[in-house]
Symmetry: none
DNA sequence: AATGAATGAGCATTCATTCAT
DNA sequence: GATGAATGAATGCTCATTCAT
């Protein structure tokens, strides 16, 4: 019989307090068997806490929140992570990977650079339907809070932003190289605008609860992208 | 003899615990004498805590932080505000007013609508030199944190954003009316782009610590504004 | 024009916060003009706080409660009393005097000792209609709380109880002397039973919210009193 | 090695601040091994705080008092109880059970109903020697304070009073049924008098610090009980 | 005599973290 | 590897009291 509280064959069994929910391990663990049980538990904690950190922020998320959302005990969380910071960093990385995996996947299906770039406005237009974006852009959420108060998270957010910028720049340069994109495009400027516009527009949508401002910005971004064409 | 801890002739006298700083009352109290001492103290608390709330956020700012930065005791803060929430809301309003007063002031000097609109990119380009913007846009900082966790602050941030949008829209419509601006400009779209671009670009600057991305976006915004010309 | 917050010609004028009530000085001040304004304010504070102390107890009554119920400021209360203890003691004395004045008044109308003694069960039967008893017997309320925690109040409660006992004993002895009451009545025992029965029965009534237990005890007490007859 | 602050083999080991007392777990834990450590600690907290709550009341008992009397930290108390209210309710229940267990035990030794009823005056006569009564009747103490200020405790006190009344009524009815007690006894009245007399007399004893008034009332109660005899 | 701003110790409660089991 | 009891510093907030005005 499985011991209560364990993660058993990919299935969480422990019931905490009055919560009689059985929580299924996320699909990721099914895809490839993880080496050790510890690795699986770590992954489970990260997946479950990721959205809480994205919504409530680092300071606003307590260990009690983390216990509730994972169904695990404090001891168990501390057995797998050094402290709350380490979980928060892992959760941020998970959140960011969810976004970038989704976008990379969509881009792989597209034949041209411009089509690939159009994945950005299309994705953020539908952010509310995507669980990993519905609470806002993890980079924006993390970097506004972590500024000064949490240098390690701030650095992670900055790395993510740099990664994003580099991805866009690579696409632009590749497009220029294969004559798909006008040669005189200002790569730095275009990248700055694309990323800034998306983050600013997401903020407006989250703040106002309305989609029209975000849609207006995404319309503009789409026409900007199409005008890159050589 | 002034009682220790009082704000006397515009100068804080009390030293709390290990903090041997003498804090000058902000300029506002010198400009015009306020009705009551309580009003002055309230104003003083708001001014001193405003930047802490902007940097650390609501959850990250403790009453101890507020004591340290004001040099006042807990009791004194609670004598002037109902609770931490009330201070945070007042501090946000102060932060936002600082920004909008600055921008309104700059705009008043400008003769044309387009010149007035150019105040935005100029201001945010120099955000690091402006104390009320150096820690980032208060709207962005507040709305990313307060989402879900603090409905009242979220609402305040949304109101501020709406106010900003309305200001921009009014300028555009006035410009269209007096033939300074092209009649076919999409007001909603332009407003969305201007505000989103600024907030997104500010976020990048704060996150990376570099100015080039912000400057690139502001360059683009400036040319967009100039192209509004009829 | 009367200064706000003063007690002027026996009428409270100050309005605190949202309480737009004008509070009339109690009848006592009208009966005989008090020497000084201070005396009148002291009396006013005592009268207004007396029932709060009787309901919430000493520890449960805060200065904020006292401010609300009097409409006065803290400074004003402290200008008239050394501290909260002093108000509490005065309030207890006031409460007790209200009860004993009422009972003395009723007794004066009665011709015989036995009729006088019957005032007790009659009074406590109707405790809920008498403002100074509706929150319970002040002696019981004070002595249960003040035990150990507040020696001065405990002593006051004990003095009040002794005064009550003495009153009953005097009546019994006078009745024995003038042959109205049987000579062999055990005065100590009868006094103990009368006072204990009343306090115990009051407690039951307050606790249960029902009158039948109190009435049953008062029925019994009445028949006990009538059987005293020689 | 036992961790400091733990309750180990029934013995509290941790010393808090200036309190160098070693506190023995109460006899109850020795009698039967409790399921979990948490249950034992909860029981320990209840036992240690019960008399403090009975003496100082709910409002008068602080968490610092509770820490001192248990030797535990705040965190530990809050690990075992949701809040102060929950401890107070448990402590009241404990206090009441101590009294009713004692009385039930004494009654079991007695052959007749009248002998059983005599347990009441005998017990309360000796209240000062019984630790759970020496600070006064828990029902009286709780119900006078909790009135209005603490509805849950008030309800508990009322339940306890009802339980007591029912116990007395059952005895009387059983006595009437088996012809030991006069059939025309007014059960409601007798029960009311017995309980009210005891609570009132206890109050006098606690207030005056003298036993003669209590003894006089108990003498009377004893003769009342004996006169029930058929 | 009364005000009201300020005090700072104290309040109940929650926090991230530890560690014997 | 996981548990859960315990820690104690820190949290937001209220308290009775003081005193310059």
């Amino acid at each position: 019989m499985p011991r209560k509280g364990c993660i058993h064959y990919g299935v969480k069994i422990k019931l905490i307090k009055n919560t009689d929910r059985y929580i299924l391990m996320s699909s990721i663990t099914k895809k490839f068997e993880m080496a050790t049980k510890a690795d699986r538990t770590k992954q489970f904690i990260v997946e479950q806490t990721a959205s809480v950190f994205n919504v409530k922020g680092f300071a606003g998320t307590s260990l009690t929140d983390m216990m509730e959302v994972t169904g695990l005990t404090k001891g168990s969380i501390y057995g797998n992570f050094k402290n709350k910071d380490e979980v928060a960093v892992a959760a941020f990385e998970h959140n960011f990977q969810q976004v970038s995996n989704y976008i990379r996947g969509k881009m792989e299906e597209r034949p041209s650079i411009i089509e690939k770039l159009l994945v950005y406005p299309e994705t953020y237009r539908n952010f509310s339907k995507l669980s990993f974006l519905s609470n806002g852009c993890p980079i924006a959420n993390t970097s506004t809070e972590a500024d000064d108060t949490h240098p390690q998270l701030k650095e992670k957010a900055n790395e993510a932003l740099t990664y994003w910028r580099n991805s866009v720049e690579k696409l632009l340069k590749a497009g220029i190289k294969n004559d798909e994109i006008k040669p005189d495009v200002n790569v730095l400027e275009f990248t700055s605008i694309l990323t800034a516009l998306i983050q600013g527009a997401m903020l407006h949508a989250k703040s106002s609860g309305k989609m029209n401002y975000l849609n207006a910005s995404m319309n503009y971004l789409e026409s900007m992208i199409r005008e890159l064409k050589n």
